[in-house]
């Protein structure tokens, strides 16, 4: 498969209170963004165990994004602080394991930022196209 045809698969783990609602807004407002993303709702970005990211990358995702409330807005006060601390270490771990850390993103998107959600997905999709298929997938592409 040539790189130009490659359509990356993105798994987005989104916080119920902000980013998931933001993604919803992007949908209801009919904003255009690439269809490459599969969203999963979690109660807080702090709930996401970094192991989920690895499991997703190992099982078919080309990129994984965690979306949470802006710093200071987490509905559980400090969930996104922990999420950020972990994300930094996670990037290092991915790199040490030979997985390009750009395949993982942490984004702060509020419930009213449907446009930011669309923007981020556009950008991420473009970046992943440049990176090419995730080598952990062993050539398994979407059926």
């Amino acid at each position: 498969m040539s790189k130009s045809e490659f359509e990356p698969r993105i798994v987005a783990l989104l916080c119920n209170w902000c980013t998931y609602t933001g993604a919803d807004l992007a949908g209801t407002a009919r904003m255009k963004y690439p269809p490459n993303v599969r969203t999963l709702r979690v109660m807080c970005s702090g709930r996401v165990d970094p192991a989920f990211v690895i499991f997703a990358l190992q099982n078919g995702a080309d990129g994984v994004m965690i979306g949470g409330c802006h710093i200071g807005d987490c509905h559980y006060a400090k969930g996104n602080y922990s999420s950020r601390r972990r994300a930094v270490i996670l990037k290092d771990t991915l790199e040490s394991l030979g997985i390009d850390p750009r395949r993982f993103r942490l984004e702060w998107i509020s419930a009213s930022e449907g446009d930011k959600f669309a923007e981020v997905i556009k950008k991420f999709t473009k970046e992943l196209k440049e990176l090419g298929p995730n080598p952990l997938n062993k050539g398994a592409q979407d059926a």
Binding site: P50, Y81, S82, R84, R85, L90, T93
Partner: protein, 277 residues
Amino acid sequence: MLNKIRDYCRDLLESKKVEGILAVYTENGNYFPYFFTKKEELNNLCIDKKYLLLNSVKPLRENLVFLLQSKMPGKRIGILARGCDERALFELSKRGQVNLDNIETIGYSCNEEQAKICTCPTPYPTVNLKFGEKVEGVSEHKRWKEFSQLDIEGKRKFWEKEFSKCIKCFGCRNACPICFCKECLMEDRKFVKGGELPVEIPSFHFVQRYHHAAQCISCGECEIACPMDIPLRLISFVLLNRVKKLYDYTPGMNPKQECPIYTIKEERNEEALDELL
């Protein structure tokens, strides 16, 4: 050093300052952890065999010190501690696995040879060193030169080769003093297949390395235990360095400093993190 330590322990027992002393016992070439309560037994106390006293007793997944503490609440317990014993003690106490009150550590240093075997950067207790001199530790992994030269794809291939040697014996986890979870993600059947090889690459090994990013006490037990000689700690060194740079935190050095990954108390350095994302 051995005689001095034995004398010191004898005094501790005689003066009833401690109920007993946890240390290594040797007999006929065998060695095992033992709770010394009688001074006659001290002739069998040994210091030249490493046995991490704070390791959790599988399958209970509770450590010996905790078990002793629950058996004799309020009593003072002595521990003859190497650097790694002390570090494990501190890290475990931060996670409620032992209680530092009523513990008397008798610290002694290791020699350079032992530090090499363990790839140990701090072969001595940093807080309570009572016997021996501090010797230089080993702060670079023996395969670091080879590994650090690889590009990202090279690293992936490196681990694909290394991890596929893994026989899923769980030695790396069982030997680790910081691994005490009763429900281990490495055995979660949603993520890891039971009794099948090859292991899930790289998630199987990722779990332990990542969980220990800010708690690995660099005792080397995981690699020593690994029958397939997988250089697991190459990853730990990277993570520990990052945690040190960001939060000035080295696991096991200070019993009062809280683990920065799990406690969000001081907001220091927070904004700087965004730049690393």
